[in-house]
């Protein structure tokens, strides 16, 4: 408590000292964002000034702006707690401690800003209850304007700004406020305050966009790499008939020589349509295994590989046309070539660029050819044509991988080194 108060007081002084006149919010009726910016910058500047020796110590902005941080080398309580037990209970505990420490809740704005920043560390950034609890830190009723002049001017702008920031963070995490939020805001700032407006806007727009994405990515991705691969592949190959096959489960074995051999997972997907295309493929032309290509699922990046062929050269294309004199009673084909939309460019159409067919896709725990070959041999069971078709591996080194396996491929010891896991990378 001591430290917090000290910091707060120092902050007030430094703000006034460094940004005279210009930024004291009461006199500034401009946009709230501007107030905030001034406010923050001044805080940072103040700190830097006060501790010029420590500029090189840690450039983490959180640390620098952490207003509740102690001047002494005592750490941010959030940081400490996060290190100890980054859980919701710990976070709640911190809030409770702060609330209980002082009836006047001195320094609560800084506290809330700090808490907001640390929420992801505790893994509570998607929890509406925590946000409500955070808003509960504000003292009630003191910020509610009592007359028209107060209402007209920005009453307690820093506090309002801070509450808006809480709501904004909720918005950024796609979290819809609930009725408790509303009650809290009314208690703290009154019916016509800026945070209340923000709340109302959110309640207006959120339901409208709630289902804007027809293919939402779940918040919790599967942890098991096989399940994750299964999920990702289903997501890419949006064909309900497509079937995922696990060609190899991840496992670690101790080989005869005593070395640990880890077998990476190989998961593939193929639809009946792709199987048909592959069956029609001319075996004298090679097919390619290409990749890795990235796929982002929220903050996770996974990589996948495709089995594809070059587009057919025009001379090999067989036009499948239906004899117009086939059906006595009704046409079997319509002569329609409508544009997708009225504004199409006729010179170049992305839709009409010919690409080779993609026959299958997979995700693997390792990026080497040996692992991918397992996939191909698994595919061969359902697609016998692969046995007669030359297969070229065109693997690019991934963003962080070295292509060791392909170079040292002939030796069986290629797998000796645990290759960088390519399938999943946080």
């Amino acid at each position: 408590m001591n430290s917090t108060r000290r910091c707060f007081v120092r902050f007030m002084m430094s703000t006034k000292a460094l940004v005279p006149g210009a930024s004291w919010p009461c006199s500034n009726l401009g946009p709230a964002a501007q107030i905030l910016r001034t406010f923050r910058v001044s805080g940072t500047v103040a700190k830097k000034k006060s501790r010029p020796v420590r500029t090189g110590y840690d450039e983490k902005p959180e640390r620098e702006r952490s207003l509740v941080a102690d001047d002494d080398d005592d750490d941010d309580p959030f940081e400490r707690a996060a290190r100890e037990a980054g859980t919701k209970a710990a976070f709640d505990g911190l809030l409770d401690v702060f609330v209980r420490r002082d009836v006047r809740r001195r320094g609560h704005v800084e506290f809330i800003y700090a808490a907001l920043r640390k929420m992801p560390d505790f893994g509570v950034e998607h929890d509406i209850a925590v946000y409500n609890k955070l808003l509960d830190v504000f003292p009630k009723e003191v910020f509610v304007p009592r007359n028209f002049i107060q209402r007209m001017f920005n009453h307690y702008p820093r506090q309002q700004e801070c509450a808006i920031q809480v709501l904004e963070q909720m918005e950024n995490y796609g979290l819809m406020p609930n009725v408790e939020t509303k009650v809290l805001l009314v208690q703290i700032f009154g019916e016509k305050s800026h945070p209340m407006r923000k709340y109302q806007r959110m309640m207006y727009w959120f339901p409208k966009f709630k289902h804007a994405n027809p293919y939402p990515v779940p918040l919790q991705l599967p942890r098991d790499p096989v399940d994750l691969a299964r999920f990702s592949l289903n997501r890419i190959a949006h064909d309900l008939d497509a079937r995922v096959a696990v060609y190899q489960f991840p496992s670690t074995e101790v080989s005869e020589t005593g070395e640990k051999v880890s077998r990476p997972h190989v998961v593939g997907i193929q639809s009946p349509e792709q199987r048909r295309l592959l069956a029609e493929h001319n075996p004298s032309r090679p097919v390619f295994v290409e990749g890795p290509f990235p796929l982002w699922l929220r903050k996770t990046c996974v990589h996948y590989y495709v089995l594809r062929a070059d587009p057919l050269p025009p001379e090999e294309k067989v036009e499948e046309s239906i004899d117009p004199e086939r059906s006595f009673f009704y046409p079997l084909e319509l002569d329609l070539d409508l544009d997708r939309d009225f504004g199409d460019l006729d010179s170049f159409d992305v839709d009409e660029v010919e690409e080779g067919p993609v026959f299958a896709m997979c995700m693997a725990g390792q990026a080497d050819q040996a692992t991918l070959a397992k996939w191909i041999s698994g595919l061969q069971e359902t697609n016998p044509i692969l046995g007669r078709t030359p297969i070229l591996f065109r693997l690019e080194s991934g963003p962080r991988e070295l292509q060791q396996a392909t170079e040292s491929e002939p030796e069986p010891s290629a797998e000796e080194e645990p290759l960088h896991s390519q399938g999943m990378k946080q």
Binding site: D323, S327, L338
Partner: protein
């Protein structure tokens, strides 16, 4: 695609000069404004030239002649023909046949100089209506003879062929039959197995193969036969199998026919297999071009459909008379059953269906007589509508008559049996629905394509674009697109006219949406196509009755007010159906529905029958 290609060829080139397939296709690609109402409604447009006013194409002399014929023909069917006996005998009595021949009923449309009556389509329709009213079995015998049997010779025959065959056919001395269907080929021309091979000397073809379910197959002397021949492709020089139509006489030798088939209805007509065993057909007997048989077949079928609607309108008239007679005379709980609401509704619906069918039949025949070339969609619609309406009318007639209707003696069950085939032959209704919808989509698609082309040069097409964009914008905000039938329809039925216009706008918008959504793949969306066709049929029916009722009101006919009632009632109900269908097509609920239907059907297929277990468990 189909209808337009054919009709234009037929209309422009006539029977002698036929372009190859490619020219037919090129003709089709030339954007040509169609006058057909049905074609235009798919584009969300109204073209009234073919439907308003209701066509009256007969001149004084022609209607005089027709009136002179109607009397004796009706009298003949009442006094000479005995439908029950024909049905029991499973053949048309010889005396009836003789009588029909004397009446000239076998050559109604053959030109007078070749021994026929030289009737126009409308006149033909009127006489066929009488036949349909009394005996559909006889109707089929006559229809298979002249509506499809030798229609090919009328449409595509050379002068020599006409002179050689038509006089005998017109007098009824020779009976004709149309041989297309094979065991493996119903609608699929590619699976025709009958072959005709040109002899080395180039003078005759050797015909081999078998045809099934040929009406008049056992009686006929002259056959129109479709067979595969090898034709050299002009462009590539490849030999390709194409269909050619031949005139085959039984006297060529090698033509045999099987025993008459046992059928559900139209028992009086003869249906048999016909086999061709090394029949030598001289090259002079090729009908149309070598390799042009597909076109011949399509034209014959397209030109024959309107007759069916006319005949069935007659059938309905007869059946309704029976039902009314019963409803007026039968007393239950102390009052005549026509006083009961359920019976009233049935009778009212019967009357409406008859009114629509009759109007459609004469609208189409009138259009054909006035030289229209785009009547294929309308003809198909009239066939679908007539066959379904007559089925439902007869069904309701039997229902009104109760147990009495179920008895053979009442004569309604025979009609019911006879009617069943009409939903099946000459293109099943399901397939014709696809034809109606796809043809419409093709036309609408062509228009949309032109619009898209115009958009690429907006300045040059400013007028067109302002109009079209304005139309769509107004449609979006729920204003009418400026279409109106005001001034075209009689003011007394203006409300029905407004409903029709609204329905057309909604229909056009949906068609466009479907086109943009599915593009070429619309052809595989048969659930959509079926609903679109249903609405197209309802729409055309609305316009047809509007036109007919307007004419009656304008002429001040004594029945005008009744017709107005029929028209208004029909329009209100059809409007509701169309709007509901269009709404469901545009909403996502239909997607789920189609998915369910598909899933249920495939479960049945997998299970070889119903899937659900017996409720008792065994």
């Amino acid at each position: 695609l189909y209808a337009t290609a054919d009709s234009r060829c037929h209309a422009k080139c006539g029977p002698t000069v036929h372009g190859s397939k490619s020219t037919a296709l090129r003709l089709l690609c030339v954007p040509q404004e169609s006058k057909s109402f049905a074609v235009n409604m798919f584009k969300g447009q109204i073209n009234t030239s073919q439907v308003f006013p209701f066509p009256s194409v007969l001149n004084e002399e022609q209607s005089q002649f027709l009136q002179e014929l109607v009397g004796p023909v009706s009298k003949f069917f009442i006094e000479v023909n005995d439908p029950m006996k024909n049905d029991a005998l499973e053949k048309v009595e010889d005396s009836t046949m003789e009588g029909l021949k004397e009446l000239g009923a076998f050559g109604l449309q053959v030109p007078t100089d070749l021994g026929g009556l030289g009737l126009t389509n409308t006149q033909y329709a009127r006489l066929v209506e009488i036949v349909g009213m009394y005996d559909l079995g006889v109707g089929i015998t006559l229809g298979a003879h002249q509506s499809i049997g030798f229609k090919g010779i009328l449409l595509f025959g050379t002068r020599a062929q006409k002179e050689k065959y038509l006089p005998k056919l017109a007098s009824g001395e020779d009976v004709a039959a149309f041989c297309l269907t094979e065991p493996a080929s119903g609608s699929d021309a590619a699976s025709i197995k009958t072959t005709a091979v040109l002899s080395p000397c180039g003078k005759y073809y050797t015909l081999n193969g078998g045809k099934i379910w040929i009406s008049n197959g056992g009686l006929a002397e002259i056959f129109t036969v479709f067979a595969k021949t090898s034709v050299k492709d002009e462009k590539t020089g490849e030999m390709k199998d194409k269909i050619t139509a031949f005139i085959v006489e039984r006297s060529f030798g090698g033509v045999t026919s099987g025993p008459p088939e046992k059928k559900m209805g139209i028992k009086a007509s003869n249906t048999a297999e016909v086999h061709f065993d090394n029949v030598r057909v001289p090259v002079e007997c090729v009908l149309g071009e070598v390799g042009g048989g597909f076109k011949v077949a399509m034209n014959i079928l397209n030109n024959g459909r309107f007759g069916m609607a006319a005949a069935l309108a007659g059938t309905m008239k007869g059946v309704i008379a029976k039902a009314v007679d019963h409803a007026v005379n039968r007393t239950q709980f102390g009052s005549k059953i026509h006083n009961y609401g359920v019976i009233q509704e049935k009778m009212a619906r019967m009357a409406m269906l008859h009114y629509v069918t009759e109007s459609m039949a004469y609208m189409v025949s009138g259009n054909m007589d006035s030289g229209a070339s785009d009547f294929q969609i309308e003809a198909a619609i009239s066939k679908i509508f007539a066959s379904e309406a007559s089925w439902s009318v007869t069904d309701e007639c039997i229902q009104i008559m109760g147990g009495m209707g179920f008895m053979k003696e009442a004569g309604a069950e025979r009609v019911m049996r006879d009617l069943r085939i009409f939903r099946i032959f000459e293109g099943t209704n399901d397939i014709l629905r696809l034809f109606v919808a796809l043809n419409g989509f093709q036309n609408a698609g062509n228009q949309l394509k032109n619009l898209q082309k115009a958009l690429k040069n907006p300045l040059g097409n400013a007028g067109l674009l302002t109009g079209e964009i304005g139309k769509r914008a107004r449609r979006r905000v729920g204003l009418g697109s400026g279409l109106s039938l005001q001034g075209t329809v009689h003011p007394e039925v203006a409300h029905s006219g407004d409903l029709t216009v609204k329905a057309i706008e909604e229909f056009g918008a949906t068609i466009e949406e479907m086109l943009l959504k599915h593009g070429k793949k619309i052809i595989d969306e048969q659930f959509v196509l079926k609903r679109v066709a249903d609405s197209a049929i309802d729409l055309y029916a609305m316009v047809v009755v509007l036109s007919r009722a307007s004419r009656s009101l304008a002429q001040g006919l004594p029945s005008a007010q009744h017709e107005k009632l029929l028209c208004e009632t029909w329009c209100i109900e059809a409007y509701g159906r169309i709007m509901a269908d269009m709404k469901s097509l545009r909403s996502s609920s239909s997607k789920q529905l189609f998915k369910n239907l598909r899933a249920i059907s495939s479960a049945l297929v997998d299970n070889g029958g119903v899937v659900s277990p017996h409720p008792l468990g065994f």
